[in-house]
Symmetry: C2
Amino acid sequence: MKKDSVFNPWEVKGDVDYGKLVKEFGISLMEDLPNVFSKNLLFRRKIIFAHRDIQRIILAIKNKKPFVMMTGLMPSGKFHIGHMMVAQQMIFYQSLGAKIYIAVADVEAYNTRGLSLDGSRKIALNEYILNYLALGLDPKKADIYFQSSRSKEAQKSNAYYRLQNLLAKHITFAEFKAIYGEITPGKMVSALLQASDMLHPQLPEFDGAVPVIVPVGIDQDPHLRLARDISQRIKSKNFIQLSSTYNLFAPGLSGGKMSSSDVNSYIALTDSKEEVERKIKKYAFSGGKDTLEEHRKKGGNPDIDVSFQYLKFFFEQDDKKLEKIYNDYKSGKMLTSELKRITIDKINSFLKEHQRKREQMRKYLDEF
Amino acid sequence: MKKDSVFNPWEVKGDVDYGKLVKEFGISLMEDLPNVFSKNLLFRRKIIFAHRDIQRIILAIKNKKPFVMMTGLMPSGKFHIGHMMVAQQMIFYQSLGAKIYIAVADVEAYNTRGLSLDGSRKIALNEYILNYLALGLDPKKADIYFQSSRSKEAQKSNAYYRLQNLLAKHITFAEFKAIYGEITPGKMVSALLQASDMLHPQLPEFDGAVPVIVPVGIDQDPHLRLARDISQRIKSKNFIQLSSTYNLFAPGLSGGKMSSSDVNSYIALTDSKEEVERKIKKYAFSGGKDTLEEHRKKGGNPDIDVSFQYLKFFFEQDDKKLEKIYNDYKSGKMLTSELKRITIDKINSFLKEHQRKREQMRKYLDEF
């Protein structure tokens, strides 16, 4: 990693060397998956490119046994297309029989970012959960909760926080530092609560002994390592080792990481069609050549072109159409302006339908 | 404090210099208290010798306003006479209108002593709570709970653990180290939970804005300092500053600290009359002189005599009788064997009645 890079669960700066991280973290590159996974664009296109212990999940799917997908959301900023990746995985796993656990990390937001619980609640509901529902999450097969208020059933709340507290016995400060680098009491407590988020679905008060898959960006792997390590030390609990998958980061508009704190780095799911058009035209990093003449002659580079990446990650479901765009852009037959036009239209067509669905789903928010 | 002394909430070794600690910790020596306090032996004899902010409690008592006494118990070893001090304060404050909160520190026992929750539960019920009831605690005016399972009402459990989690934001590692010395994740999490124990009675889900008094041995003051400091940093919560009182340690049989891990350092409330007789005769440190002749001539020292201390702390309610024993022993009129005889008889008479009551109270244990 470069000298001025920062890479930890709270901050990612600079280029990410996936190959090096896979090796360093000891995770496995994704091998051939059963056919059912190829229905999902993210798996089919190897955007989800690595895993730990996914075999348990594959087996559960094959044998139609129960399993859980667990994820968390940091309630800050707007819900953007980068956030769609985990939502799409929720919906995919739900279609395969998984129960979905979604933790609103409001305690972590308070302890590590100073956000109020009330503020977190509003953002979580209006930005994240509403968009999950509009994207197709079935709330009846999901357990959506706030870290600050786990359940309406005391037995469940007690079990969840008890686990957080007891986990502390099974880890040292040296290990926290080795995993997280700099650490504060607030971060430590949040990391333990996040370990409980990942592990508590297996408690008898919840879904019992079922495999749990946690899909993350690779920057979140430290949390996984912590939870995996501790879980095996509490002999009395017999936790099944956690499974996880790792996705590539969707690039921000200008090519860096998509960041909630930089409004010009992302397309939000609430953006108007004018905003989408403006952002793609003005900010989307292009793989095209400097002059029309040069582009026609030498062709563009779709592998670094952000508009193309958005089609690949999210908006062009048809592999053949995507391949044709790739080839046409690479050969110079397609210009940057044309590629951007396709992307803008695809995004706006998606957002129009999505924003309609979102208003329909607003009535379900009252449940929370 | 001497070089080989250890003094922190988890371990006390060597002599305790109360005067120095009062100064160092910034607590106040007890001044004149309203008459009602003189009904209680511990206050009357200045065994409870210092405090922080007791004026709020005095005011609540005077104005017949609600207040809370909060205490915790470490479920390890046998319930001995040293443990009676806090029980007697519970019963005293209950008679003055307080609601009593009692936390069974099973999470702390797990994290700092490696005790299982099941084991802690059994000890807490059969040793501590049963003895509290037999000593006169009214369970209807008390909220007795386990740290690992706060309440049967989800709202309450959520509020209690939420507070623990949010407190972490308002303290640094440096402060933890300054207060506790060596610290582990398990100890840190336990300290935060203990801060929530002390502060959560004031939450709206519990008793709201009421003053809370926490009676402790002076070794537990670090926990108080932590909870007091953090509480004033969470501006949104408006916690009333905690009150606390500090009692002298009842000496162990041979003069050091009474320790649950050394069976010959204490009288347990389950000891038989033969055990009491044997322990006092064999182990109770004497302030008498080496020979009968010398004792008659020069007199004994009741201030260091453990039998006399037990009469003073616990078993001789009558101040005049106690004074006579003091004077007779000091003058040499009373021999050590006579003082020990009085003490043995007083303890056994108390234990006979207490053990009968304890069996009567066993039926109430089912509630927990």
